[in-house]
Amino acid sequence: MMITLQLFGRFREFSPSPEIALDLPGIATVGDFRAAFDDWAQSNWPGYRPALLQSAAIATDSSLLRANSPLPADGRLAVLPPVSGG
């Protein structure tokens, strides 16, 4: 499945673009995406550590997604590391 992933916070360190396109075959849920993206990041991002993704939430423009949530049809996701507003 083609995923368009928006990067925020510490995830921006790994890419010159705030948004990346990923072709991750065989994924249907957010949990599937987490596992596939973790594998991809470990292979493609020097310095990436799985703990960063483990502490991050996966979201659409309007909602946080649970691990068993189906992926949105448009493939648009955001990865949200721990937040620090205010």
Partner: protein, 181 residues
């Protein structure tokens, strides 16, 4: 999400303008209100004992606005349907002294004004998708540690975050960043 004339939420890019506490007070003012509480968050010159010269705020705008609106709506439900609430948060690179966030809550009496304002700023800090990168005087920049949103997912897809805070989100965050080394 349904909008209300009693709720105002804004994201302001520092390149476009600055936060305006007077606008916040004006929005939550009402002849029926005897109490208005305002919280202003501004960039300070030190962080964990290090001299800070600027803070860059990164934000996921659409979800942040959804969280702001839901948070104010919850405060209205809790402290009175006649209350009014306002949230504005800046994004971009802010200098020391710049305003980062303004929250205002107006109600007939002071106790509800204090409580509503406090509830809203705590939710903004702990639940809104906003990230702070601190710029130190020695040229070093670091992302601020924060609160993990993991465990705050709604049971269904119709709410931006869970109604109840996850157990010890700060502990979850600190454990995660210790693991990062």
């Amino acid at each position: 999400m349904e909008t209300s004339p009693r709720v105002a939420c804004h994201v302001v890019d520092i390149a476009d303008g600055r936060l305006d506490p007077a606008a916040a007070i004006e929005f939550v003012s009402d002849d029926a209100f005897g109490g208005i509480d305002v919280f202003i968050g501004r960039v300070r010159a030190s962080s964990h004992g290090r001299e800070c010269v600027a803070v860059h705020y990164d934000m996921f705008d659409p979800l942040a606005l959804t969280v702001f609106q839901r948070t104010v709506a919850q405060a209205l439900a809790k402290y009175g349907p006649k209350a009014k609430g306002y949230v504005a948060h800046a994004k971009g690179k802010l200098a020391v002294g710049d305003l980062a966030v303004v929250v205002a809550f107006g109600t007939p009496h002071r106790d509800e004004a204090f409580r509503g304002c406090r509830d809203i700023i705590e939710a903004v800090k702990h639940e809104a998708p906003i990230w702070k990168r601190e710029h130190f005087v020695d040229g070093v920049t670091e992302w601020s540690e924060g609160c993990s949103l993991c465990g705050k997912e709604p049971e269904s897809g119709d709410s931006p975050v869970a109604d109840e805070a996850a157990p010890s989100p700060a502990q979850t965050m600190h454990a995660a960043f210790r693991a990062l080394g």
